[in-house]
């Protein structure tokens, strides 16, 4: 009975903290995700501000109201070879589970952060090879059935060319309205990120993944794509006014 009481008390407290239960510990087979440095900075800053109690429930880093900042992990898969329309592209399906937000929470901001970690094959390649990529981001509007034309189910939301930096390149984009629409059950089909390398000499074109006639490229020729959705939300129950 004592253990039951303890569990009940813990559940009450976790619920008041906005959690449905104690989050499960990390799996032994998989290392835990690193804490983004930006989030560490915000945490340190919040610790200092709490002593002053200035502007509670405002995230000054993003200029919005909120008391919860989540780095929502991408759960999409690499769709290498899936596209029939763009054999030279790297395609990545991005999926951010927005159902983790409680219904009471008001979403103030959802910012997509994409990091491309690029390792050229050799220093010479860095000089002569890819210097920019065309980035296209599509919203998937319907579930894609096998055999169906995937292009029919997507809508372009971003198209730009990005200069590649030596080690990593970042792209950020405001997706608040789209992320809000993903909160409705059954409405989140994610995004498709398409990367097409841009080269000065088309003859030297090196696809990210091979076509039928090309040998398999070494894995390190692929840029590593890391995507996070920074979601700032406000739980009004946890941000009462000080004047009562």
């Amino acid at each position: 009975p004592r253990a039951e009481d303890t569990n009940r008390q813990e559940q009450l407290l976790l619920r008041s903290l906005g959690l449905s239960g104690r989050p499960r510990p990390a799996g032994s087979h998989q290392p835990r995700r690193q804490v983004p440095s930006a989030l560490w900075r915000m945490f340190r800053r919040a610790e200092k501000l709490e002593a002053l109690e200035s502007q509670p429930c405002t995230v000054s880093e993003y200029g919005v109201r909120g008391n919860i900042i989540r780095y929502v992990q991408d759960q999409g898969r690499l769709v290498s070879g899936w596209s029939r329309s763009c054999q030279a592209c790297l395609e990545k399906h991005l999926f951010f589970n927005m159902s983790i937000l409680q219904p009471v929470e008001v979403l103030s901001l959802a910012q997509l952060e994409i990091k491309l970690h690029w390792k050229p094959l050799s220093p010479v390649q860095l000089l002569q090879g890819t210097q920019a990529v065309a980035v296209s981001l599509y919203k998937v509007v319907r579930s894609t059935l096998k055999g169906a034309n995937p292009k029919a189910n997507r809508r372009l939301v971003l198209s730009q060319s990005v200069q590649l930096q030596r080690e990593s390149t970042s792209i950020t984009m405001d997706l608040t309205a789209l992320a809000e629409s993903w909160r409705k059950p059954g409405s989140n089909y994610g995004l498709i990120l398409e990367l097409l390398p841009l080269r000065a000499d088309p003859e030297e074109f090196l696809p990210f993944y091979p076509g039928n006639s090309l040998p398999l490229q070494p894995a390190f020729a692929l840029p590593l794509v890391q995507a996070s959705l920074v979601a700032v939300s406000l739980n009004p129950n946890q941000c009462r006014s000080r004047r009562r």
Binding site: E10, L17, G18, L19, S20, G21, R22, P23, R24, P25, A26, R32, R33, V35, P36, L39, W40, M42, F43, A46, E47, E50, A51, E53, P56, C57, N67, I68, I69, R70, Y71, V72, Q73, Q75, N97, I100, Q238, C239, R240
Partner: protein, 115 residues
């Protein structure tokens, strides 16, 4: 009836006491990233008659101590409770392994009073 004045030593008077909550002690170290713990404090002590100003009593609490001093059997002393709390931020992993920074109000007792 005359009020019974029971002397109260300063240590037993209502005030904030130090309480450090370690997330390891409550078994939350697997998912709370930072802080490892925090000074939550708690309120403890008596609210004796006469209520001094330092005990932050409400008018009601002052009257209750007066009635308690006259009739201690049937009227309890006011309660020693938190009257000013402050917030903390917590960095943790949720069930989907997302990293979350959340601001929580009313986590630290800064001041106690008789209510």
């Amino acid at each position: 009836r005359s009020a019974i004045h029971i002397p109260v030593t300063p240590s037993s008077v209502c005030k904030a006491r130090r309480l450090y909550i370690s997330f390891k002690d409550v078994g939350w170290q697997d998912w709370v990233i930072a802080p490892q713990g925090f000074m939550a404090n708690y309120c403890h002590g008596e609210c004796p008659f006469p209520l001094s100003e330092s005990l932050n009593g409400t008018n009601h609490a002052i009257l209750q101590t007066l009635v308690h001093s006259l009739d201690p059997e049937n009227t309890p002393q006011p309660c020693c409770v938190p009257i000013r709390l402050s917030s903390i931020s917590m960095l943790y992993y949720d069930n989907n392994d997302n990293v979350v920074l959340q601001h929580y109000q009313d986590m630290v007792v800064d001041e106690c009073g008789c209510r």
